[in-house]
């Protein structure tokens, strides 16, 4: 074995060009596969970083419309009281909070969690004390737990931080504990606060409110997913009976935590793994063809070895050793490429898993095993066919210099030809898939978002503390008005407005509504619509057309709210009772709530019948907007005047500029800081970027498919070129004879081109058939085009035909330049 290995090494160093091409070809295939497997591994295979992760469940609510809803906090408290299948279950919600540090105020991500949260995840504090049930009660002393990173950032890792105070949203919180450095949460959070003391401020106490709260739970030993689901179904039925309005049609969904975090990525990751597997297959075929050609060139050596008594096994072993050595070097280079590929492709990991994988290496035992396995299999795959055929070389012919080819089939077909046909077919499958993805994205981006995103800057400004709102209910409104006034003075700015839920900000909020002129629908059948709270110029800034009626005037009256009135749903219900609010509705809402009628002047009730919220009167109809992604149909939407509400909505500022918006960002931020110096500005993005980001996942997948398709095309072209060039090289004498006998150069050209076409055309036919089967798997990733989109098939086939034609042309041209005298002299 050692002599074989030594000889194989010598062979590779002897032909550096061959070796480099073969190694790089395999490295691309192995590297891409390993990188993608690393991502699949990080998403689906690697254990979550918690003890006994298989017992962790994610529990959400669901109804007919939403299969995965946030959990109503009062419902959660009932679950805790009634359930017997979990050792514990905990609610969590993440928010940005304003933290006062030594230098200035900054916004940090905070997790509001219930008492059992760290117990459920199996996390012990590294310093200080654990979160106790008494911390998670209304009115409890404010305490905070810092992550290790937060502790390092805010206290430079000083153990004396325990017991010290930090100002969060203007209130002093005592640091109670520091979490261990290896703790990873599946949301971004630098600190954790008990949820119960903040439940009022976050409007969590209303059973109807499903406000971003999620539940994680740990199964008791012996319980299963099925038993937990059955037990929670019983609780859901009880709650429906107890709270028929708020819980009408609401069930409970229990699923493994891993599934909740990762399942959305399953199909796209597996499809990409399939695509990259095809690339590796094509790479293998390419190298196999190169080795086949080389084995023909080495037939005399093989024949000598045979004559000296080498058995077929020994010959195959020698040649497979060479291929395994090439694969090993390719695997090593591929491993390096995969490190880069993993970093590049990590965005394929679902966003909930990102905080967990962010600090993890892409490599673990699974990936190393995969890399080793794929390297050995690759070496065997591309090495065995050439080795087998080389071992069949007839030493008589080889030692007599008889020109020969490696035939597999009768007629003119050779092994190398078959490999090229297969390669062309596989490449076409990937090209068709890439073409489908491109056309899908084209269709998607051709859809109007309903807003004009050009020249619009969007950002958030941390609002005044909730405590200020308690003193003066309209303090937030005045804060917003000051900012709007200051920003409006900028010469770069055309108009500016605040909105509670900008399109593509993933901040939509829906509310139950019903017409006041019709009987109230029964619970569970109440319609709902997305609610927006916007300032006067919002429609102008966002480019949403007012189709009928009018927009807001800014003169909509504010209700009287006495100082020191706690702001809650009850307050709003009391203050606004009997008040009629001007409302603008989207065209979709107008059609769905008043089909065939004129909605202007019509009224509808906000919220459940028992909530006693105000009535809205329609004053205008605006165009539909898409709120989250372009591929989702617009939902019914209504808009209320923001200045009529004191509630601390998480609002965005949108600024339409006169010129290039990125040039105006600094000026806008400066203007805001001038009137709100202690209020951090964050989430600064151009509206066009928000729209583009909504399909960035699709675009990224499309780019990967395009890259894999392009790589496959390149490899196929190299394969075709290699076979034809080798063919021309071996037929130089024959071509010389033809030319000596009077063949014209164009006829020689045609002979070679025809040979190329006999490889390409069957490959295309097979590829089209293969694509017909394979692209059906892509259907879930497509938008606006079917898996059998004819244009995509034609485009893929044409691209392949042109590129392959070019690959044929070079050796064909070389054939026409054969000097007959020289060719006939050389035997």
């Amino acid at each position: 074995m050692i002599p074989d290995l030594r000889y194989a090494f010598r062979q590779l160093t002897k032909s550096p060009g061959f070796t480099v091409v073969a190694v790089l070809t395999l490295a691309i295939g192995i590297g891409a596969n390993t990188a993608l497997f690393s991502i699949v591994n990080a998403t689906f295979l690697r254990s979550l970083p918690y003890p006994e992760p298989g017992r962790l469940m994610h529990v959400t609510e669901r109804n007919r419309q939403w299969p995965d809803m946030s959990v109503s906090y009062p419902n959660f408290l009932d679950w805790v009281a009634q359930q017997e299948v979990f050792t514990d279950l905990a609610i969590y919600r993440t928010n940005s909070v304003k933290l006062k540090t030594a230098g200035a105020s900054e916004l940090v991500s905070a997790g509001y969690v219930s008492a059992g949260f760290f117990d459920v995840l199996g996390v012990n504090v590294a310093l200080g004390r654990a979160l106790a049930p008494e911390d998670d009660r209304p009115g409890a002393a404010p305490v905070v737990w810092l992550t290790h990173a937060g502790w390092q950032r805010f206290f430079s890792g000083d153990p004396a931080a325990i017991g010290q105070s930090v100002l969060i949203e203007g209130r002093a919180y005592a640091v109670a504990g520091i979490l261990p450095p290896d703790f990873r949460f599946f949301r971004a959070a630098e600190l954790f606060l008990p949820v119960a003391p903040a439940a009022d401020e976050m409007f969590l106490k209303d059973r109807e409110n499903h406000n971003g709260t999620r539940v994680v739970a740990r199964l008791k030993p012996g319980e299963s997913l099925e038993s937990a689901q059955a037990a929670m179904d019983v609780i859901a039925q009880r709650l429906q009976l107890a709270w028929p309005e708020a819980n009408a049609g609401i069930g409970i969904r229990v699923q493994p935590l891993r599934d909740n975090l990762a399942s959305e990525a399953r199909s796209s990751q597996l499809l990409l793994l399939g695509a990259v597997g095809l690339v590796l297959l094509i790479a293998c075929v390419n190298v196999a063809n190169m080795l086949l050609a080389r084995s023909l060139a080495r037939e005399r050596e093989i024949a000598v070895r045979t004559a000296l008594g080498a058995s077929r096994f020994r010959l195959v072993r020698l040649l497979v050793t060479e291929s395994l050595l090439i694969a090993a070097v390719g695997g090593a280079v591929g491993a390096l490429l995969s490190l880069w590929g993993y970093d590049f492709g990590r965005r394929l990991v679902p966003w909930q898993m990102q905080p967990i994988v962010a600090t993890q290496s892409g490599y673990d035992a699974n990936v190393l095993f995969f890399l080793a396995g794929i390297t050995v299999l690759t070496g065997l795959f591309f090495g065995l066919v050439p080795a087998w055929h080389a071992s069949r070389i007839d030493p008589n012919d080889a030692l007599k210099n008889t020109p020969r080819t490696l035939r597999l089939l009768p007629g003119h077909w050779q092994v190398g030809d078959l490999l090229v046909v297969g390669q062309v077919a596989l490449a076409l499958v990937l090209l068709v898939a890439a073409s489908l993805m491109v056309r899908s994205l084209q269709r998607l981006t051709a859809i109007s978002p309903g807003v004009d995103p050009t020249r619009v800057i969007t950002l958030q400004v941390a609002p005044p503390a909730v405590s200020e709102l308690q003193r003066d209910a309209w303090s937030h409104t005045r804060f917003q008005e000051r900012i709007l006034a200051e920003v409006a003075t900028l010469p770069e700015v055309e108009s500016a407005a605040f909105g509670s839920a900008l399109p593509f900000s993933w901040n939509t909020s829906s509310m139950v509504i019903f017409r006041t002129d019709l009987p109230v629908p029964e619970a569970g059948k109440l319609p709902s619509a997305n609610s927006h709270f916007v300032t006067t110029d919002y429609f102008r800034v966002m480019g949403i057309p007012v189709l009928r009626g009018r927009a807001f005037t800014g003169r909509e009256p504010q209700p009287e709210i006495a100082p020191n009135t706690p702001i809650s749903v009850e307050t709003i219900a009391r203050v606004y009772r009997g008040l009629e609010l001007d409302c603008v509705v989207s065209e979709r809402m107008a059609e769905s709530l008043w089909p065939g009628e004129d909605p202007i002047g019509r009224r509808f009730q906000l919220g459940f019948p028992s909530a006693n919220l105000p009535v809205a009167r329609v004053v205008g109809i605006v165009g539909n907007t898409r709120q989250e992604t372009l591929d989702r149909d617009p939902k019914p939407e209504f808009y209320l005047a923001l200045h009529q509400f004191p509630a601390p909505f998480g609002v965005h500022l949108a600024v339409r500029t006169r010129l290039e918006p990125s040039a105006a960002v600094a000026a806008v931020q400066k203007a805001i800081r001038a009137v709100a110096p202690d209020h951090p500005i964050h989430d600064v993005r151009l509206m066009s970027d928000r729209v583009a980001d909504s399909y960035s996942g699709r675009r990224f997948n499309m780019s990967l498919f395009a890259f894999f398709g392009g790589t496959a095309l390149l490899l196929a072209v190299i394969g075709i070129y290699g076979v034809l060039a080798f063919n021309v090289g071996r037929r130089t004498r024959e071509i010389g004879i033809r030319m000596a006998l009077g063949a014209q150069r164009h006829s020689v050209l045609l002979v070679v081109l025809q040979r190329g076409l006999t490889l390409i055309l069957p490959g295309i036919a097979l590829g089209l058939a293969g694509g017909w089967f394979a692209t059906r798997l892509l259907q879930s990733q497509l938008f606006g085009v079917g898996a059998f989109d004819l244009t995509s098939y034609i485009a893929g086939a044409l691209a392949l035909l042109l590129a392959a034609g070019a690959a044929c042309w070079i050796p064909a041209r070389r054939a026409t330049r054969v000097d007959p005298i020289e060719a006939l002299r050389t035997e």
Binding site: R305, A307, L399
Partner: protein, 234 residues
């Protein structure tokens, strides 16, 4: 005969090419004794190389029997033929057929590795063979660094290293100038005098005379046998 090494009886070889039968050998009868030096002569295309291929178990006869060292070998499997080739036959080719990527020593050692011989024994046997042909001092060189004559000496050493029952030489001087050709023929004569059995294909009558006996082939048949010590026909 107890000292018979090679015995062919009615050996024929027919090639089928595009439904056309070509009779390369037609009923060859031949016997070669141990320690004999036989040359096979004849014009191009007469079948002498085909005969040598059959003798070397690189090819099998279409019909007839071939007994090597007392054992019929015409119907053996490929692995068994490879094993016999490795142990009982040494090849010397016209174009040397050294493997360019292996050193002189490794080339000579190569057939011994196929035999599964331990490394120390291989080394001793290869060096001994190289010393025998006067090439021990070039053991670490590559074939490309040697002259044609030296390369053929190395090829002879490779054939000798495994101590085969017979050396088969196919036009061993065909790619050499007359001086190197003479030297190689002298080497074969010395080996023969040392007891080696040699079968050599040549169409150079000058070299054929070095053999004890010359078998003339024409059109796939033995047409004449000539014992060099007795110039009269037998």
């Amino acid at each position: 005969m107890s000292d018979s090494l090679i015995k062919l009886e009615g050996v024929t070889k027919v090639f089928l090419t595009d439904e056309v039968e070509t009779h390369a050998l037609s009923g060859i009868h031949m016997e070669i004794r141990k320690g004999e030096y036989v040359s096979i002569a004849g014009p191009s295309g007469c079948g002498k190389s085909t005969l040598l291929s059959i003798l070397g178990l690189l090819d099998s006869p279409t019909d007839g029997t071939y007994v090597l060292n007392g054992r019929p070998v015409q119907g053996l499997s490929l692995p068994e033929r490879a094993r016999i080739r490795n142990r009982e036959i040494g090849f010397i080719f016209q174009s040397f057929n050294l493997i360019g990527d292996l050193t002189v020593f490794e080339n000579v050692e190569l057939p011994l590795t196929y035999r599964g011989m331990p490394a120390a024994e291989r080394k001793a046997a290869a060096l001994e063979a190289l010393e025998k042909v006067g090439m021990g001092h070039r053991a670490k060189h590559l074939p490309s660094q040697l002259s044609g004559g030296q390369q053929q000496r190395v090829a002879v050493a490779r054939a000798l290293a495994g101590k085969p029952a017979v050396l088969l030489a196919d036009e061993p001087t065909g790619n050499l100038d007359s001086k190197n050709g003479d030297a190689v023929m002298q080497l074969l004569s010395e080996l023969h005098q040392g007891g080696a059995t040699i079968v050599m294909v040549t169409h150079d009558a000058r070299f054929a005379r070095n053999a004890d006996r010359t078998i003339h082939i024409f059109d796939g048949r033995v047409v004449q046998e000539q014992v060099e010590s007795d110039p009269t026909r037998t």
